[in-house]
């Protein structure tokens, strides 16, 4: 008689394999129930985490892609909100996705949205906190991004496409261009996506990497002598970009 481990091993092999072993009619019916439930569970989880990709490509295309992905990367956690991190990278090498150049970047934004949605709660930085500092203290301050803040840098107008298609009550609309775009996902009450210029993106990225406000400002001013430091900081703080000091 097989041990429990041997039984599990043989059964698990049958769950996601493309071809099912020859079985009696009744066993075939039973294995099909388990296989369908597993496949549907994974595809539904992926669809929940990549709603904008699903909306852009439609159910049939999504299911075919998801099934390939699931077979190559079954979940390593029972928490399905964490399932599918590698889907954007998978789409990059999925031949049918070649015709949809913005799709991988849309998938990356979907994933960052989910990360922001489930990130820890923490108080956001208020402008008054920075206003209480003197000039030197302000320049030496190292801000931390709020745990729910995510930066995006994408190609092919993926952020505009994502924004048009993410809200479920808006019909799909495509903007085809090769524009690079930058954005900031933040969570105050609801999750918001704030478009950024490339210099603003670089400014936040420097802070994320541990630069002081003074160092990040110097880099931005070197790129653009007119960089509006105070206005940019105010905009980012209002959006809830930073964690309280």
């Amino acid at each position: 008689m097989p041990s429990l481990a041997e039984f599990q091993s043989a059964f698990a092999d049958q769950l996601l394999s493309a071809h099912l072993a020859t079985l009696s009619n009744r066993d075939m019916a039973a294995m099909t129930v388990y296989r369908n439930t597993v496949t549907k569970g994974f595809i539904d989880a992926l669809a929940a985490n990549y709603p904008t990709v699903l909306k852009l490509v439609g159910e049939e295309w999504f299911e075919a892609a998801a099934l390939r992905f699931v077979r190559s990367a079954p979940a390593t956690t029972p928490v399905l909100a964490e399932y599918g991190k590698g889907f954007a990278a998978f789409l990059e090498h999925f031949p049918p996705a070649k015709e949809i150049p913005y799709l991988c970047d849309v998938a990356r934004i979907d994933w960052r949205w989910i990360e922001s949605y489930t990130a820890p709660d923490a108080p956001a930085l208020h402008a008054a906190t920075l206003q209480a500092l003197d000039g030197e203290q302000l320049l030496n301050t190292r801000l931390l991004l709020h745990p729910a803040t995510r930066l995006c840098a994408v190609h092919h107008s993926a952020l505009a496409i994502w924004s048009h298609n993410h809200a479920s009550n808006v019909s799909p609309e495509l903007i085809v261009s090769d524009t690079d775009e930058f954005g900031l996902i933040t969570r105050r009450h609801d999750i918001e996506v704030l478009p950024l210029s490339s210099i603003e993106h670089e400014f936040v990225a420097h802070i994320e990497q541990g630069a002081t406000l003074g160092e990040a400002a110097m880099t931005a001013l070197a790129d653009d002598a007119q960089f509006p430091l105070a206005g940019t900081l105010a905009k980012l703080i209002t959006a809830g970009c930073f964690a309280d000091l």
């Binding site: 429990l4 039984f7 059964f11 769950l15 009619n25 019916a29 039973a30 994974f42 928490v79």
Partner: protein
């Protein structure tokens, strides 16, 4: 908050209705893994729900019927969800979902051998020690006939209760589906359950699958509860007395009020099952 009578599976889409519901004895069950995230709207909803209503925490990821030991990190996450919601019950399944680091979103079968019994009893011990509380174990819905069972499902459950002190979550629809698919009599099955160990009851709907020249009943949680399952439910609570009872619906989810009707029906049957004496005692 009142003593939990009949409850509903919590759906975020029903949040406002669920929160506002004032039916006596109302409670909600949550799927633990959906709330194993750090923060955000989902956790805020859970906190608000648990503030107003009793909550039962139902896990799907412990994989108690795996040959290896439960993932302690996962057990601790389950503990946090149970503590955060002040759960009146914590339950899991007599099934496996994990094999060598891969997790499958389904409750998978195993041969009920003495080896499996020892392993699962060990796994339940580990979880109960970490949770510092009793776990309720749910009977699975079965589709595959295995010829390597050494124990009947009810003997297996009785033995787990005896060895670990765990309780049972009796899913009536699973009994109905499994006895149809694999064989056996649902009433006999109920007769053989240790009534005192039953801490919660699940009721759900199923569908028939008629491909492959054989009719399998599939536990979809996607339809109304059928008459036969309601009759089995009455039979069980007549024997065990009323227990917190859940209307499980995870697919084709209707409006909250429609689910409330099924839930109220369960509450009526619970009241009918009690002796006049017990009803007076509860009414004070």
């Amino acid at each position: 908050m009142t003593h939990p009578a009949a409850g509903l599976g919590f759906k975020p889409g029903h949040f406002a209705d669920a929160l506002a519901c004032t039916a006596a004895g109302m409670w909600y069950e949550i799927h633990a893994e959906n709330y194993m995230v750090a923060g955000g709207t989902r956790m805020a909803m859970l906190d608000a729900l648990a503030e107003r209503h009793p909550v039962s925490v139902h896990g799907v990821g412990l994989s108690l019927a795996s040959a290896d030991e439960p993932d302690l990190q996962h057990v601790l996450k389950l503990k946090r969800v149970a503590e955060r919601t002040r759960a009146f019950a914590v339950s899991e399944h007599l099934a496996w979902t994990r094999w060598q680091g891969s997790h499958f979103p389904d409750l998978l079968p195993f041969p009920r051998t003495t080896e499996a019994l020892q392993i699962i009893a060990r796994n339940i011990d580990i979880v109960q020690n970490a949770l510092q509380r009793r776990l309720l174990i749910e009977n699975p819905s079965l589709y595959l006939s295995l010829n390597t069972h050494e124990w009947s499902e009810t003997d297996f459950l009785n033995e787990l209760v005896k060895r670990t002190g765990c309780g049972l979550l009796v899913d009536i629809n699973n009994i109905y589906v499994s006895t149809h698919n694999i064989g056996g009599d649902a009433y006999d099955y109920i007769d053989q359950l240790p009534a005192d160990a039953i801490g919660e009851i699940h009721l759900a709907g199923h569908v028939s699958d008629t491909r492959f020249d054989t009719t399998l009943l599939i536990d979809t949680h996607g339809a109304a509860i059928c008459d036969e399952v309601w009759e089995l439910y009455q039979y069980l609570i007549k024997r065990s007395g009323p227990r917190p009872t859940l209307i499980e619906r995870d697919d084709n989810i209707p409006a909250f009020d429609e689910l409330l009707l099924e839930r109220n029906h369960a509450t009526q049957l619970m009241a009918q099952s009690m002796s006049l004496e017990a009803r007076h005692a509860i009414a004070g």
